[in-house]
């Protein structure tokens, strides 16, 4: 038994020692996010890693699966590790202000992608989420003739999604003929399955033709879940729109499904801009501004050249 424990511990020790020494040369960047399961977040991180490879940076990625307490702890760990920079993805630094302040105090530049401006970070690269919400909402409302019943899928815990919700609130006030008949706070992770289950129930609760005309999804994945439920129920006359330009959503638009539009955030561009700016920062320079926006694009059947009957 003693041999067993000793060999187990030694194996762990050797493995950990090897892990600790197997680091490549170049700047070390710690990337942290609570939402790696979201496709958009994963896209940003993959793009950032591709850029990092070009710059010969060593990148390690940490995900805490929606757990903000663990996120704060892992950010402290990253600060202890003293990398050349820390990149936070899809999180508002104000939610972990103390830990971000500590990183700044340790002299580590903190960059956020899809986050928010903050006094302790050097740069935030994002899209204007309110504008994203406005663009998608206007498109969706136009699609139903600015009249009818909509379902909202939302997730106010994410500051970007919350800004889009505010755009919807504003549009609902300006368009009194559009009524919100149901809403659902999406569970993350598991957002597609959760949204599908919720939409199944909402469809059952609103069985009449015309009871629901549109689904407003705070980002694409809940829209994809809602679309699955609509297809399974065989319901017609319901359209879905989301935000992010998720490849699966674009495929659904191409296939003439109920999914009719998405607003593509330039996630790849965000990561590219962040990497370029970080390269300047690591060389001792300053970013162009403390907040930079990546371009956005409305993707519809028309923009994709798809004809549906």
């Amino acid at each position: 038994m003693t041999k067993f424990v000793t060999s187990l511990a030694l194996s762990a020790a050797f493995a950990l020692t090897a892990a600790g020494t197997a680091q490549a040369a170049g700047e070390k960047i710690s990337v942290l996010t609570p939402y790696l399961s979201a496709i958009a977040t994963a896209e940003m991180i993959d793009s950032f890693k591709a850029q990092a490879e070009k710059f010969q940076w060593t990148v390690d990625v940490v995900d805490t699966a929606g757990d903000m307490g663990a996120f704060a702890s892992r950010l402290e760990d990253a600060t202890t590790k003293a990398p050349n920079a820390i990149v936070l993805v899809s999180v508002d630094p104000a939610q972990i202000q103390d830990q971000v302040d500590k990183a700044k105090a340790a002299g580590i530049p903190v960059v956020t992608i899809d986050g928010a401006k903050n006094a302790s970070t050097v740069l935030n690269v994002t899209s204007d989420n309110f504008v994203l919400g406005q663009t998608m909402t206007k498109f969706l409302f136009d699609a139903i003739g600015n009249k009818g019943n909509i379902v909202r899928f939302f997730y106010s815990a994410h500051p970007g999604v919350h800004a889009r919700e505010l755009a919807l609130d504003e549009a609902l006030k300006a368009n009194p003929d559009v009524k919100q008949v149901a809403d659902h706070y999406v569970q993350v992770p598991g957002q597609i399955d959760d949204s599908r289950a919720a939409m199944d129930a909402i469809l059952l609760a609103n069985p009449a033709d015309g009871a629901i005309n549109a689904v407003w999804a705070g980002w694409d994945e809940p829209g994809i879940g809602a679309n699955l439920a609509i297809e399974a129920a065989g319901r017609k006359g319901i359209v879905v729109a989301g935000i992010d330009g998720n490849p699966e959503a674009i495929e659904l638009i191409k296939k003439c499904s109920a999914y009719i539009g998405t607003v593509r955030q330039g996630f790849t561009q965000m990561a590219d801009i962040a990497a370029e700016q970080l390269n300047t920062i690591l060389a001792g320079g300053k970013p162009e501004k403390d907040e930079l926006y990546a371009p956005v694009e409305l993707i519809t059947r028309d923009s994709l050249g798809v004809k549906c009957e």
């Binding site: 038994m1 950990l16 020692t17 990625v61 903000m68 760990d77 202000q97 500051p159």
Partner: protein
């Protein structure tokens, strides 16, 4: 080393070896004073929630609502801050909510005979709904008084404030469980509730009180987490549930009888905390961290079982 000693001290040995391994792998980061400071802060919330779980497991029950109680307390506190209330009102109100929720769990279990697994899951879901409703689903981080932030931030005499919370909460809980008549009654109830009842022990009252204390401790953990982060999300306490029970189960392997103890639970919390911290410092993928945690729980429990068989 005899099988008995190994079964009892194997977990402690594994913890020490983990620390040694991380210290060798990352001597400047892991073994630094700053990192020990970080580790204490990172473990505090889990240690308190795991203590709540330990108390409930001592009476042979489970409380699956601990994470939800933590979230609700934090949301209530921040909602009251938003209404302009002071720390001295918001914090006690949030703690009271946790105690009431815990007592409700106890009543459902002891008075109505609903299995604790079901009762606490159901009540936890209700608490989750209340937290969601009170927060509107959005992250709350405005109007937080500076006095609240000092609950879990900073240090006293160079020691993190959260270390004092760990010592106070776990010290009192350990003392109550091992040195008081109430603690002995709880262990008797956990050993055989029917016999405890026939012996004339106030089982109904003790079970309700135990759940109420667990609810209060969970609320305290939620408040400390909120103070540490400076923000609240209505789901923030939920991820504490599984690591808390993992810590308790790891801790049972350090107990001579295999029953939950506060000191054992602290060891379990330390192992999970050191694993997460050390692997992040080494840049190990998060999925390996989860696998390692699961493997350690299985190995620890197996060692315990093998040791007992050998006795």
């Amino acid at each position: 080393m005899t099988a008995f000693n190994l079964s009892r001290f194997g977990t402690l040995i594994a913890f020490v070896l983990l620390c040694v391994a991380f210290s060798i792998a990352a001597p400047q980061a892991f073994a630094s004073q700053g990192n020990v400071y970080n580790l204490i802060q990172q473990m505090a919330t889990l240690a308190i929630v795991a203590t709540a779980a330990t108390l409930v497991m001592t009476i042979g029950e489970f409380d699956l609502s601990v994470g939800f109680s933590a979230s609700l307390a934090a949301v209530i506190c921040f909602a009251l801050f938003g209404q302009g209330y002071d720390v001295w009102l918001a914090v006690p109100a949030a703690l009271l909510a946790g105690i009431v929720a815990g007592a409700a769990n106890g009543i459902l279990v002891a008075r109505f005979g609903i299995p604790s697994f079901v009762a606490t899951l159901a009540l936890g879901t209700i608490l989750s709904g209340l937290a969601f409703g009170a927060s509107g689903g959005a992250s709350m981080f405005k109007n937080v008084p500076d006095g609240f932030k000092t609950l879990a931030r900073g240090d006293l005499f160079g020691i993190p404030v959260l270390a004092f919370w760990i010592v106070a909460v776990l010290g009192i809980a350990s003392f109550v469980l091992t040195q008081t008549e109430f603690g002995r009654r709880l262990r008797a109830i956990g050993g055989n509730p029917q016999a405890a009842r026939l012996a004339g022990l106030p089982v109904l009252r003790d079970v309700i009180v135990t759940f109420a204390i667990a609810g209060g401790l969970s609320a305290l953990a939620g408040l400390l987490l909120a103070s540490r982060l400076g923000s609240v999300q209505h789901t923030m306490g939920e991820p504490l549930l599984l690591p808390a029970y993992a810590a308790v189960f790891i801790g049972t392997t350090a107990s001579p009888t295999g029953s939950p103890t506060v000191i054992g639970t602290l060891l379990g919390v330390a192992i999970t905390g050191v694993l997460a911290n050390g692997m992040t410092i080494l840049g190990v993928d998060p999925f390996i961290q989860k696998i390692m945690t699961g493997v350690i729980i299985i190995v620890a429990v197996l060692l315990r079982r093998m040791g007992r068989t050998a006795q």
